[in-house]
């Protein structure tokens, strides 16, 4: 056994626990939350773990306050996270928009349950895909990741912090209730195996510092409050110094830079998995727990001689446009199974542009999509 393997830990972990532990490993030292099923285990776990590592946990009076508190903490240099579910995610959208505009790194975990409204508090859904893209008002870039196993929750939580810090943007971890509550055997990476990205820091003296200036990456360096770089942060449109300005030139420049920094970063943000796609004549695009059913379905299809394969985005936003466009050139049909009545399929259809038919398999009953249901669609089309 190598030393590296030795320092790895094997654990039986719940998805929500894996998320909390990954946050600690990523350097998260501030969490603010509000109780909500099915995400509460994340807050419960971190209420114990954060003080152990010198971090801070606070249960706020509501979801809006939890989102505000993490943004305040992030301004002092802390890596920050909050966790919630659909109804709470709706409430957080106001301050998520603030984080986009003020370029404050933060991670929001949304454990998806059935909606709208109070809906199905402890049953799974994948119906916040579009909320993760367009939940806050105004034009804006968005980043969201969707893990499909407990180990992936761990890895994607760390990746969420990395993307948030490097690009100064809120990142949503979209976990469905099945993944959040399932327990799996997980081999956690050793400390040295985890790559961490940090926020860009100023290299100039305070009098030359531009907290919202343009850079080749579009991401301005971020100074922590209290370290001599006094500056203004606002949700209003602002000049490179952060001071409110509403001239058409300033507004246009800020909006375009906010979009450009994520466009430039997209190659580093996108991530997907391909399963049995090399010779596939039929492709499935699925994420989260639906992708687990899809994986089982393509194996069953292959046992019956049907060449089916899976493309599984781990980054949901921005969308994996290139790989899906290539898939459309290769296969005769694409199937998109989702626990909603069609959200990510809209992106698939947009990118496929009629090159091949796109089919849906949907469930909104609070039950997972069984492999048989996807297999039936595969057999119908084969």
């Amino acid at each position: 056994m190598s030393t590296q393997t030795k320092s790895r830990q094997v654990k039986l972990l719940q998805g929500n626990e894996a998320c909390a532990e990954a946050a600690i490993a990523a350097g998260c030292r501030f969490f603010a939350g509000y109780p909500i099923s099915p995400s509460s285990e994340i807050a419960e776990h971190l209420s114990v773990r954060l003080p152990q590592v010198g971090g801070r946990f606070i249960q706020m009076e509501d979801e809006i306050a939890a989102m505000g508190a993490i943004l305040g903490a992030a301004m002092t240099g802390a890596k920050v996270m909050t966790a919630t579910s659909g109804p709470g995610y709706s409430l957080k959208q106001e301050n998520i928009g603030y984080a986009v505009m003020a370029e404050i790194p933060c991670v929001i975990v949304d454990v998806m349950r059935g909606g709208p409204s109070t809906g199905l508090p402890t049953s799974p859904a994948q119906s916040d895909v579009m909320q993760a893209r367009w939940g806050t008002h105004g034009d804006h870039p968005a980043v969201a990741l969707a893990p499909a196993s407990v180990r992936e929750v761990y890895d994607e939580t760390i990746r969420a912090f990395n993307i948030a810090e490097r690009f100064r943007i809120p990142v949503t971890l979209l976990v469905d209730e099945i993944i959040a509550h399932m327990r799996e055997r997980v081999e956690l990476p050793a400390k040295g195996e985890i790559a961490l990205w940090e926020r860009p820091r100023p290299t100039v003296p305070p009098d030359q510092y531009l907290p919202f200036g343009d850079t080749p990456t579009g991401v301005p360096p971020m100074a922590n409050f209290g370290e001599g770089y006094r500056y203004h942060v606002t949700g209003l449109y602002h000049d490179p110094r952060g001071l409110p300005k509403d001239s058409p030139e300033v507004v246009d420049t800020v909006m375009r830079r906010l979009m450009r920094k994520i466009e430039l970063g997209t190659p580093d943000i996108l991530k997907h998995e391909e399963v049995l796609l090399d010779d596939a004549a039929l492709g499935i695009v699925a994420y989260g727990s639906s992708a687990r059913s899809a994986k089982a379905a393509i194996r069953m299809a292959r046992a019956r001689g049907i060449k089916a394969g899976l493309m599984r985005p781990l980054t949901i936003w921005p969308f994996i446009e290139g790989p899906v466009a290539d898939l459309a050139k290769q296969v005769r049909h694409i199937i998109v199974p989702e626990m909603n009545l069609g959200q990510l399929v809209l992106e698939v259809e947009r990118v496929v542009r009629g090159r091949c038919p796109v089919h849906r398999v949907n469930r909104v009953s609070g039950e997972p999509i069984p492999p048989d249901e996807i297999l039936a669609k595969i057999e119908e089309l084969a």
Partner: protein, 274 residues
Amino acid sequence: MFDYEKYLRLEMFPHIWCPGCGDGIVMKSLLRAIDRVGLQKDEICMVSGIGCSSRLTGYVDFNTLHTTHGRPLAFATGVKLAKPSLNVIVITGDGDALAIGGNHFIHAARRNIDLTVLLFNNATYGMTGGQLAPTTPTGKVATTARQGSIDPPFDACKLAIAAGASYVARGTSYHSQQLDRLIEGGIKHKGFALIEILENCNTYYGRPNKISLLELLQWEKDNTVNVKAAERMTPEQLQGKIITGVLHQADRPEYVALYEEHIARVRAKATAAA
């Protein structure tokens, strides 16, 4: 002559406040209080919400965070808990703190977290054009209560005391020297400190209610009584008067200090177990 300029972002002037507004008077009082306490500019984080008074943070040369409507106390709680060495001062209005941010207001007071909160109470929503506020006196006119308000107003100080704030004071924009001392006391106090400041919006409260700027200022003078003077007055004499000064001061454990103790306890236990 006090040197205000050393605390200001001069390129931000002229400010957005109307002639006669109380906001500028309170800002000057705040800067004098900060100077008297002797805080360095880097040690101060000033957090505000949305509204006329909340634009103050843009004009002053500190670490300034102009947040969302009603939420400055939530952001400030994060700043203070994550970096206790910062002196966190919150600028908020009556609509910001008592209507949309009312929940954050009572819970920040309940925690007794070490924040100094300046609540600019002009009895209206000035920035949006004079709508009914939770502080508008019953019977007064607002653009959303054109026939006169039937709503009873909030008493911010009573609310803060009931919720657990450990320093509660009220001043006015007329009594600016008293205000210096009230703000100074709030900054020095360890715990949740509220300073409610009665001020005027002559543009959107005065004009529709046919009250001149002079009358608004005269009202601040005539209808308030210092808490010390009030002790010597009869209930009849105090009828209709608003009490100013330090209304409440208590020695209660402060939230961040409690959390630091919590961390120390947890870590000591872990060390002992190992």
